[in-house]
Amino acid sequence: MARVVVDVMPKPEILDPQGKAVLGALPRLGFSGVTDVRQGKRFELEIDGEVTDAVLAEVEKMAETLLSNPVIENYAVRVEATQ
């Protein structure tokens, strides 16, 4: 078993109202020093067997087709070590 993680973030030029809401809430809770917050999504894909280049290419395709909307989001794929 192996885990592949796909991080999806709104593109820098796209307004992120949820991140803005979090940014606004932090000072109200007494946290200071945070100048910006962007909120994204993290997908953990449990993979059956080895994570080969072919598997990673397949995950790239999943990320591009379904997990993210390339019009407004960027994604990054990485393999995570599991016990």
């Binding site: 109202p17 803005k20 379904l66 019009v71």
Partner: protein, 222 residues
């Protein structure tokens, strides 16, 4: 004409859309997200709501439902397709329309009678209106902010594909006050506000929305 109205799990406005289609002089044909054929309809409406619970992104799951494979193919052949609100989001996710719809810039759900200007009265969904007509219909959305890159926006404007624009206030942060757009051919139209809620005097914001549903009839005579 036979106009199909698709129900996805979580659709809300399909019954209103069917009623508006009927008032517009057509026969409404209910379609289900799991359907593998369009039952011989001449046009399709994707109604508003929260299909698949808006999981992942609004419209992202619906876009891969069996019926959408049929809708995408038919749209490619020129069938008139109208997406309202969640239907607009589905059309963007399907890449039948450019751009995307993101959370309202003010972060609140908005529900109001919204004034619009019809910017393009040549599509099969807007031909009942005069170019520049100002209408008031219901707007209700949480994720209605239309965004696209500058080149796409310029192209939409240059090709007359901005179908409707918000007047008075921009209710959701949509770039260039865009309320609705069309594809290149003009047969696919996405609209964030709800014409199907403004077709009878008894309810809603007047009857300004009815023109969307009578347009199909007129465009067949062109």
């Amino acid at each position: 004409m036979k106009v199909g109205v698709v129900t996805f799990p979580g659709s809300l406005d399909e019954v209103d859309a069917q009623r508006a289609v009927t008032l517009g002089g057509h026969t409404a044909v209910p379609l289900w997200h799991g359907d593998h054929d369009l039952k011989g309809v001449d046009a399709v409406v994707l109604p508003g709501g929260f299909s698949y619970g808006d999981y992942l992104r609004c419209g992202a799951i619906s876009r891969f439902s069996p019926v959408m494979a049929e809708v995408i193919e038919a749209a490619g052949k020129g069938m008139p397709v109208l997406g309202i609100c969640n239907g607009f989001q589905i059309l963007c996710e399907s890449h039948l329309l450019p751009g995307a719809l993101i959370r309202n810039d003010h972060r609140k759900f908005v529900c109001r009678d919204q004034r619009l200007r019809i910017e393009n009265a040549t599509t099969p969904w807007t031909s009942s209106y005069d170019e520049g007509a100002e209408i008031t219909i219901v707007l209700k959305n949480g994720e209605g902010g239309f965004v696209a890159d500058v080149e796409t926006l310029d192209r939409l404007e240059g090709e007359g594909r901005v179908v409707a624009r918000y007047l008075d206030v921009n209710p959701n942060g949509s770039l260039r006050d865009i309320a609705g757009i069309s594809n290149e051919r003009g047969n696919v139209v996405g609209l964030m506000p709800h014409p199907e809620h403004a077709v009878e005097d008894l309810t809603g914001a007047g009857t300004d929305g009815l023109g969307i549903f009578t347009s199909l009839l007129e465009s067949t005579f062109v």
